[in-house]
């Protein structure tokens, strides 16, 4: 099958959906001629014009609010937020407005919009351009949250997001924009709330999100060489979260590590770990281990930045301990 980059996959998803639905439009900073600083959107303004690929001034709260109102009145905005870190600027419009509109109106109003943004450290971008803030959004009822782990997921999840009638936030890993994966020529969608078992295994379950799926897969390779069989699960969306697939795996392996690039405390790993415990406690041989980014602002210095995020070696090390019963804390 042909291979394309995650960036191309996003571009294709947008182009296809914009062709299909004339009410869709893209809005954000330098999305048109510049095609974003990551050049993800190149070519779209040429096809769809500046009326549907809309460059905004640098007023994130403003254009996010505008998108909410547009969505409520019959268009389907796809908001481009240049860095995930800027989500702090638009939380009110996203969480007080978009997320609650349908509920507060008793089901009469809807806000079908997509917020495309990114996450990921180790790009030497400093503390305000390196955060992975998806846990914040996932905490707010009314928002769906997708986390593609490859070009394939990026395309399929984005297409689903655009067709969804709810506000959806999709976090792309900015380090993966140039990573290639097999992506079919034919149209496909990836449903929300359906996890993907990336690799089957029997000894331990590794649940990873976004680029941490790759980290989990690499850890699984390391472990395989040592005779430990790891199952790797990619939830693909964290809201809704496919606990059935995760529970099934954990009940088989009895051990689990959850890996995510957001800060560990009060983050995604905690939620998944807590749910596994509630739902599969009696099947566990040891505690579910959480591996998130360190609870520190992301440092600029390469010497420090690289140690803030989970690595395959770190995952493998924890897996070995779990296998050996060394997590015993009695």
């Amino acid at each position: 099958m042909r291979e394309i980059t995650l960036s191309q996959a996003v571009n294709e998803a947008l182009a296809e959906e914009m062709r299909r639905d004339p009410t869709t439009f893209i809005i954000g900073e330098d999305v048109a001629e510049a095609g974003t600083p990551f050049k993800i959107l190149s070519g779209l303004v040429e096809e769809f014009g500046t009326g549907r690929v809309v460059d905004t001034p640098i007023g994130e709260p403003g254009f996010m609010g505008l998108a909410v109102g547009a969505a409520m009145t019959g268009t389907r905005p796809i908001v481009d937020l240049m860095f995930g870190d800027f989500i702090f600027l638009i939380m009110d419009q996203l969480c007080n407005q978009a997320a609650k509109t349908h509920y507060m109106s008793g089901g009469k109003l809807t806000a079908p919009l997509v917020l495309r943004t990114n996450l990921g450290a180790t790009r030497r971008s400093g503390a305000q351009h390196s955060q992975s803030l998806h846990a914040l959004v996932a905490h707010i009822p009314g928002l769906k949250v997708a986390m593609p782990s490859s070009a394939y997921e990026a395309k399929g999840l984005l297409k689903t997001a655009i067709r969804d009638n709810n506000p959806v936030v999709i976090f792309e890993d900015k380090l993966m924009y140039q990573d290639k994966a097999e992506v079919p020529e034919e149209e496909y969608l990836i449903p929300f709330g359906v996890a993907n078992v990336k690799r089957a295994g029997s000894d331990i379950t590794l649940v990873g999100t976004s680029s941490m799926v790759q980290v989990a897969e690499k850890a699984a390779e390391i472990l395989a060489a040592e005779g430990i069989s790891a199952e790797v699960i990619d939830p693909r969306t964290i809201v809704p979260l496919d606990m059935d697939t995760i529970n099934e795996s954990v009940r088989k392996t009895s051990r689990c590590i959850v890996i995510d690039e957001g800060h560990q405390s009060f983050g995604v790993t905690s939620e998944i770990a807590a749910r596994i415990m509630e739902q599969s406690f009696y099947h566990l041989d040891g505690p579910v281990i959480r591996m998130g980014a360190m609870d520190v602002p992301i440092p600029f210095s390469p010497a420090l930045e690289d140690i803030t995020v989970p690595t395959p070696e770190g995952v493998a090390a924890n897996a070995r301990k779990l296998m050996a019963g060394e997590m015993f804390n009695g």
Binding site: G65, V68, G69, G106, G107, L109
Partner: protein, 325 residues
């Protein structure tokens, strides 16, 4: 007074809409005072000419966004008493099935995109609604209502900038009632409010918000120009709220005097002023107007009674509408 609407029916409709707002609020206040209403609410009384003067210049598919002080906008844009009182009381037959309440009342069917409990929270929404109209080639205009206090929120300037750059059909309607909660406007707004809009290249107007015809005439013009792509516009409407900031704000003398309140109520009441004009012009007699008021009072009383007896949403609704199915 100037001429805006020009036939009797339209004049009387404006009068009656103002009375409906006042009556709605008097009943809502009573519900609060008699502890029959959950929570608090913000009365629109005194500002009726603003909502009515503006909304009478709009058609049904035109949109408005509203505020925490939103009952007036809701009535003016065409809402019914029954669904409104049901909403205020958290009942299933409310506009939002009781899930929104006073601060989130919306009336999708008449183009009211909803009140908002975040001061400034609907400025983006209104601008986006105008964006939709432009993108889909509809001639709908959106009016964004907000208070003087809300002009301190930065998002206003962000969206005015975009609306001006893209010529969006939106009218920013700033109801300057002199107060932002318990603080005088002068203490929270430096410089000039209209000059701020003008600095973004937006034509701005100031109008007497107690004069329904003046408000209507100006709005008719700006709506027509907006439909032709000449928007956005900004209007500052000088007005006054009769009650406290919310129904529980009873002792107000530390921030505004009783004399001031009295002056506005007796000398500048928008309903009385318009009534005087209507009778003077021979458009309606005192008796005609009294009949209108009586009918509206009866309607309101019936709606209140209905709403009090109506049922709450079933508890199974609690997790419905989080997501669109």
């Amino acid at each position: 007074m100037s001429d805006a609407k020009t036939n009797t029916e339209e004049y009387l409709r404006m009068y009656s809409q103002m009375v409906r707002i006042r009556t709605f609020e008097d009943n809502a206040n009573q519900l609060y005072l008699s502890a029959k209403m959950p929570g608090l609410t913000h009365m629109y009384s005194g500002q009726e000419a603003v909502a009515v003067g503006i909304c009478e210049a709009l058609k049904k598919t035109d949109k408005i966004t509203s505020t925490h002080r939103g009952h007036g906008h809701c009535v003016a844009k065409g809402a019914n008493f029954k669904e409104m009182f049901c909403e205020l009381l958290g009942k299933e037959e409310g506009y939002c099935r009781g899930k929104g309440g006073s601060m989130h009342i919306a009336d999708q069917s008449n183009g009211n995109l909803g009140a908002n409990a975040i001061v400034g929270g609907s400025m983006g929404i209104a601008t986006g609604s105008a964006f939709t109209a432009k993108m889909l080639g509809k001639d709908d205009v959106t009016v964004c209502f907000f208070g003087d206090g809300a002009t301190a929120q930065g998002i206003l300037y962000e969206v005015m900038n975009m609306a001006a750059l893209w010529n969006l059909p939106v009218i920013y309607a700033c109801e300057n009632n002199g107060y932002s909660e318990y603080t005088k406007t002068a203490e929270i707004a430096a410089g000039s409010i209209t000059a701020r809009a003008e600095a973004f290249g937006i034509e701005a107007f100031t109008v007497d918000g107690q004069d329904v015809l003046a408000v209507n005439e100006l709005t008719e013009k700006l709506v027509a120009r907006s439909r032709k792509g000449e928007g956005p516009f900004f209007i500052e409407l000088m007005t006054y709220r009769y009650h406290g900031h919310h129904v529980g704000d009873i002792n107000r003398e530390y921030y505004r005097s009783k004399d001031e309140e009295k002056l506005w109520k007796t000398e500048r009441d928008p309903i009385t002023k318009f009534a005087t004009w209507l009778t003077k012009e021979g458009i309606a007699s005192d008796a005609d107007l009294a009949a209108i008021t009586a009918e509206i009072s009866a309607d309101a009383a019936a709606a209140v009674e209905y709403a009090l007896a109506a049922k709450y949403p079933d508890i199974s609704e609690v997790d419905q509408h989080v997501f669109v199915a």
